[in-house]
Amino acid sequence: MVSASCGTPAAWGGVSATAAIGGSLSNPQTWLAASEADILQSVGRLRDHVNYASYLKRNDDVVLSGLTSTSMNEFFEVCLGGLITLPAAFMFIGPVLLSKYAGSTFSLGFIALPGVFDKMPGGQFFGFIWFFMLFLAAITSSISMLQPVIAFFEEGFGLKRHASAAILGMLTAGGTGFVVYFSKETLALDTLDFWIGTFLIYVLAMLQTFVYGWIFGIERGEAEAHVGAHIRIPRAVQYLLKYVTPVYLLVIFVAFCWTNLPGKIDEILAKPVALASVIFIGVLLVFLMVLVRIAGIRWAKEGRYDRVDAQGELLEEGV
């Protein structure tokens, strides 16, 4: 479990955040990458949790079970994963070469770690074990991330599971095909990895905290969370979510845009593959937003929103 965790993006993200860019704390990209590593494990996973929580009954506990799974995940993937991966990569590869790989979480995992296995006794065996566990971790992680999309196609468009899985298969084949075709120097993968895995997931986290704190409201959020909860959330956490978290995320985001974004844009414009990757992300984003809009219209016609009042409260007991 620990070994597999070391291979996760969170562990690599934390490592790259620390090792990247010489570990300069004055560089906003360091904070962006470090926050992303954490966000990926907590707020970023919300996309899955929202989906799975929809299958719970109204009085099921979410607070304790969610906090337990998150803290356990955080301990294994970030703490143990970071403790194992970073010192090992630092010791076997050295700070100079490490900083060369650190710009990409993918490069750090798939280029730096084989170097580590190459220099240790029984490296081939441990390397096999490592990447086999990483394969298993990736499979389970992929399923958990793809299931919400299948559920969206099924419930949003009334499709059968076969059709939903087929459409999702085509979408993912398009993305992976793009990465495989433009595999030289892993430029397409690195570009997608940064703009989706670091930048957009950060934007998503900002939106989620803003929506919770300022649109949904901490009063309603607190009341809703405590329905059937086994532990109480300290009141201070609500103020933290409303005032501190959005400001923290926003400050890092603005600092990143101010300091690093012009350079990132220049990089994209200088490399056609990187530009194509960003256009690919944009097209896919628009396509998915159109699908969400169509599904919303369809739900409205079916009268699904009639069960919710103007404040978003259920008018009848949910199942």
Binding site: T68, F75, C79
Partner: protein, 54 residues
């Protein structure tokens, strides 16, 4: 590693470990429940997506 580095590492890992210990304690200290009532995993959820599959 510098003393400050040690302090930050111990504090961050200690915080997560304390939180995890607290959560596990609370989970295992919960009173026993009727499994049939509380368990509604995939076996009990009918998503109806396999009806008329073809």
């Amino acid at each position: 590693m510098t003393p400050l580095g040690w302090a930050i590492m111990v504090m961050s890992i200690g915080t997560v470990l304390t939180l995890l210990t607290f959560c596990l304690y609370k989970v295992f200290a919960l009173p026993q429940m009727d499994v049939e009532e509380s368990l509604h995993g995939p076996g009990n959820i009918d998503t109806e997506d396999t009806l008329d599959a073809d």
